[in-house]
């Protein structure tokens, strides 16, 4: 067999296989080009899921005929001005996208620079035509027809039109999140699938970013997002983290951007899990969108042809920064529970039949017909009588512990959870606040309080360690054993004392007394996995906290126990001063707040 050079068309098709694995990848490359060209508006059209046509139109800087001819050559790029791969400032830099796409499709580029004429260039299956004069507005339009016609095998592996379109929309959305100042549209030729206008008003970058994130992740997110902003060792992290009570069962809604580049990185999911571990059940995942700004020299983006992965020179710093910043944001949020909870509650409320006050039907709906002062007077007239909750009839609450209004002062601003008014169904505490009511799940709330107290005791008192009479030797991969042994000090603070035992094994000498008789081998192996994947001893912490949370569950006030007003108020006051009292250990809310305005809306007063 003789060795020969492959023809260039084949080389390009092979390269295309790496860069353009599906229509979404082509869309991503083209949109990134448009962003690098300084576009303010990018319109994407996909027909048949991108199979017959992908068209990306921008209003960027455009290209001249000569540039265009060069652009479709391999490794030709306008980016990377000083040929330094360690300082990549643009989205692209490899000079591969256009020739790769051109190698497997019929590519038409039409472009007009600001001060030039429009030219058009056709590329078919890798064969380049000559530039033709054309007519076009400023900017560039790239049209990709019959993608993969030159590589039928790839064509066969495409999923349904809908799936491919979804992937493409996802790719554009990710980029859109990083570029709030650019407007995007994606359509399938008939319907607009995603659109967001350029966010360029003067309300500030943060508000613009949040609006853009809301366009992609939903309004729930923007309403329940905490601002994250932190800097350490020259790495800046900003973005938004969702409240724990807003959670999903996949990590899909966790976005990470490094220098404006959307990346998928295990590091992010691990760090997020670490930061939220206390607040969510294991299978639930919060929503976050985080942006890392880092010196381009400290990050290698040239890992993956599609550039969805990056490598940090010091992943530990980035991870620590993410965990620290998220924890900080969550701690500041205190006991705030997600508004989605209140919204769900409101959605579930139905206007009651039967009117508690006969005269009420005469009340005009839609206060706009009354003069403002009069409306207020009427409202105050119909305001609930102090110390009594309308609608509380004997049947629905067997023994409501109605609280007298001597505690009315508590409803003021100092006490966000207000004054306890009653306990209903011996499970929920109803409290009145300055501008609404709060319903507290007494068991969930107390459980969280006990849990926080235990955790604090654990932190202050140190973890008791039970020595092992028969030290347990656990065989592991040598690298893993070394990694565990390197962290021995940190682990011993958590009650696990181990050391290296020859090569490829560790010996465990002491275990946390809290765990009782436990499967040490399984624990150490889980720990090793955690260290490998996320660089943190999460498994051990989780187990300790699991014991705490079981004990907390058993040691807290159950649903069904009657509380007297003093007890209820004491619970509310403690919730206010305890961090993270807004959700139970499983991410469910411990209380919901209904604003007076919401209640009034329910009754048609607004």
């Amino acid at each position: 067999m003789t060795i020969r050079m492959l023809p260039e068309t084949v080389v390009n098709r092979i390269a295309a296989g790496e860069v353009v694995e599906r229509p979404a990848a082509a869309v991503k490359e083209l949109v990134e080009n448009a962003l690098d060209a300084g576009a303010h508006q990018i319109d994407v059209v996909l027909r048949d899921g991108g199979r017959t046509l992908i068209s990306v139109t921008d209003d960027g800087c455009g290209m001249t005929a000569d540039e265009m001819t060069l652009a479709v050559e391999r490794h030709a790029t306008s980016k990377l001005p000083d040929d330094d791969l360690t300082r990549v400032l643009t989205m692209g830099f490899r000079g591969e996208a256009l020739p790769s796409i051109g190698a497997v499709s019929r590519l038409t580029i039409t472009s007009r620079p600001r001060d030039g004429e429009a030219w058009q260039l056709l590329l078919e299956g890798g064969r380049k035509g000559a530039p033709q004069p054309a007519s076009h507005a400023y900017g560039t339009r790239v049209e990709v027809r019959d993608l993969f016609y030159a590589t039928p095998a790839r064509l066969k592996f495409l999923k349904t039109e809908r799936t491919e379109l979804d992937h493409a929309v996802d790719a554009v959305q990710r980029l859109a999140m990083a570029y709030p100042e650019v407007g995007f549209t994606v359509s399938d030729g008939e319907k607009t699938r995603f659109a967001c206008a350029s966010e360029t008003d003067l309300t500030g970058d943060e508000a613009a970013l949040l609006r853009r994130l809301a366009a992609v992740m939903g309004r729930d997110f923007s309403e329940n997002a905490l601002t994250v902003d932190a800097e350490r060792d020259g790495v800046r992290l900003f973005g938004f983290a969702g409240l724990p009570t807003l959670n999903r069962n996949t990590t899909r809604h966790q976005y990470l951007f490094v220098n404006g580049r959307p990346v998928r990185d295990k590091l992010l999911h691990g760090a997020v899990r670490g930061a939220y571990q206390d607040f969510l059940a294991r299978q639930r995942h919060p929503l976050v969108a985080l942006f890392v700004e880092i010196d381009p020299e400290l990050v290698d983006v040239n890992v993956h042809p599609a550039k969805t992965e990056v490598r940090f020179r010091d992943a530990g710093v980035v991870r620590g920064l993410i965990v620290g910043a998220l924890r900080h944001a969550l701690a500041e949020a205190g006991h705030r529970a997600s508004t989605t909870v209140a919204d769900t509650a409101l959605g579930a409320l139905r206007p009651g039949s039967g009117l508690p006050y006969p005269g009420r039907s005469a009340y005009p709906t839609g206060g706009s017909t009354l003069p403002r002062e009069l409306a207020e007077a009427v409202a105050s007239y119909y305001a609930p009588v102090e110390g009594q909750i309308p609608g509380l009839d004997g049947a629905s609450a067997a023994a409501p512990a109605t609280v007298d209004d001597d505690a009315a002062a508590m409803a003021g601003g100092d006490h966000p959870l207000g004054a306890a008014r009653a306990q209903v169904h011996e499970t929920y505490i109803v409290a009145q606040t300055g501008d609404g009511i709060v319903i507290v799940d007494q068991h969930a709330a107390h459980e969280r309080l006990v849990y926080e107290r235990m955790k604090k005791a654990l932190e202050n008192g140190g973890v008791m360690r039970q020595g092992l009479l028969l030290p347990e030797v656990i065989d592991l991969d040598d690298a893993i054993a070394t990694r565990l042994a390197d962290r021995a000090e940190e682990l011993s603070e958590l009650g696990l004392v181990l050391e290296k035992f020859g090569s490829g094994a560790v010996v465990v000498r002491e275990v946390p007394a809290l765990l009782g008789q436990t499967d040490v081998g399984a624990l150490v192996r889980d720990l090793a996995d955690d260290l490998a994947e996320m660089d943190t001893a999460l498994a051990l912490r989780e187990r300790l906290e699991e014991v705490c949370s079981t004990m907390a569950c058993h040691g807290s006030v159950r649903a069904g126990r009657q509380l007297n007003p003093t007890e209820m108020n004491a619970l509310l006051r403690e919730m206010e001063v305890t961090p993270h009292a807004g959700q139970c250990n499983h991410g469910r809310p411990t209380y919901v707040e209904l604003k007076l305005a919401d209640i009034e809306r329910l009754f048609g007063r607004r």
Partner: protein
């Protein structure tokens, strides 16, 4: 099969065998007890495939035969019959029902074919010896508390029985450990046990044996192989599989150079530990021992509950030492001490401590300390 039997006789035998039967079974026949009547004797057998108990009782058998019946139901019925009742047990012609009659009560229990009932054969048991019930009780009681319940180290889920020679004397030695503490008890090696293999008797079998020998005064005949053991006394035969594993080299973990000897009044000490540990947290139960010449201060603190201390007069003349233990482990050990005094042999706060009964040098306990 047709027979008549005294209710109390049947109840006692059923109580013995039915406790082997698990409450929930994936194999239906294992929920049943095998009844076999012949020559004035009724033989009852129950098994969970690892452990089988067979008991023979006198009965007035008018027609020999065999059947099986749901063990727990059968037991509950007999338990609720009036004292002194005569129970008639009979199978119907097709042997698909077991009929019970006592006084005016009638029960009909569905049966399963006897052929399905698994036989746990003893196989060849080359080693045989005899132990007094007292010896066996002492050996089990002083070790079983230390048996591990953690299933991954299955070889610790039982008592390790083996023959040893020390200073020219031969002993039968029983050892149990859960990795945190260890109990070792010896008794004179009975005749016939010289060549016995080291075996690990599983926890469930130990618990059953202990229940069965609670009242007997007769010697217990033990027969062993590498994989099975059989105990026989008072018409009861218990056969059990042994744990197929290697018991760790426990001798290595028993310290030999501990030199600080603390002697406490075991009753006073146990009561004090119990009192002080009330304060320590529910899960870790830690308690601290501050030993000084002539005195011992027990203390416990918990961020939730507060703290407690108690001072005891003890025999100690070495340098001062502070050491922490799990109070439950201390109580487990002190409750096994029959003499007035317990002897703690200490080295330092991180090393295993030996506990002995001053009145009984056949038992030895090792306890790992707890640390903050």
């Amino acid at each position: 099969m047709k027979l008549t039997i005294e209710r109390s006789t049947l109840l006692k035998a059923l109580a013995h065998v039915q406790s082997v039967v698990e409450r929930r079974n994936t194999i239906p026949i294992l929920a049943n007890v095998l009844l076999d009547a012949s020559d004035g004797t009724l033989t009852l057998t129950a098994t969970d495939m690892d452990l089988a108990i067979t008991e023979k009782v006198d009965a007035d058998v008018s027609q020999a035969g065999a059947s099986t019946a749901p063990a727990h139901t059968f037991y509950d019925i007999v338990r609720k019959l009036p004292d002194g009742a005569q129970v008639e047990v009979e199978t119907d012609a097709a042997a698909s029902q077991l009929l019970l009659r006592a006084g005016r009560s009638r029960f009909s229990l569905s049966t399963l074919p006897i052929e399905d009932f698994p036989v746990l054969s003893g196989g060849d048991l080359p080693v045989a010896f005899s132990l007094t019930a007292d010896e066996l009780r002492a050996v089990i009681d002083r070790t079983r508390f230390a048996i591990s319940t953690e299933e991954t180290r299955y070889y610790l889920n039982g008592i390790y029985l083996h023959a040893v020679e020390a200073d020219g004397e031969h002993f039968l030695r029983a050892v149990a450990t859960d990795g945190h503490r260890l109990a070792r008890v010896e008794t004179a090696l009975p005749a016939g046990a010289e060549g016995m293999p080291g075996v690990i008797a599983p926890r469930k079998a130990i618990a059953e044996v202990r229940k069965l020998i609670d009242e007997t005064t007769n010697p217990v005949e033990v027969a062993l192989s590498d994989t099975r053991m059989r105990l026989e006394f008072d018409g009861i035969v218990l056969t059990s599989k042994l744990i197929d594993g290697t018991f760790p080299d426990y001798e290595r973990v028993i310290p030999t150079d501990n030199d600080k000897v603390l002697v406490v009044d075991s009753g006073v000490f146990a009561a004090a530990v119990d009192r002080v540990s009330t304060i320590s947290s529910e899960k870790s139960r830690s308690i601290k021992l501050a030993v000084n010449p002539g005195s011992l201060t027990l203390s416990a603190t918990s961020t939730e509950n507060g703290s407690a201390t108690e001072e005891l007069e003890v025999g100690y003349s070495d340098s001062g030492l502070e050491i922490g233990f799990n109070s439950k482990y201390l109580l487990d050990i002190t409750s096994q001490i029959e003499g007035d005094e317990a002897q703690f042999i200490l080295a330092d706060p991180a090393s295993p401590t030996i506990v002995r009964d001053t009145a009984d040098d056949r038992a030895l306990y090792v306890l790992m300390p707890m640390r903050v």
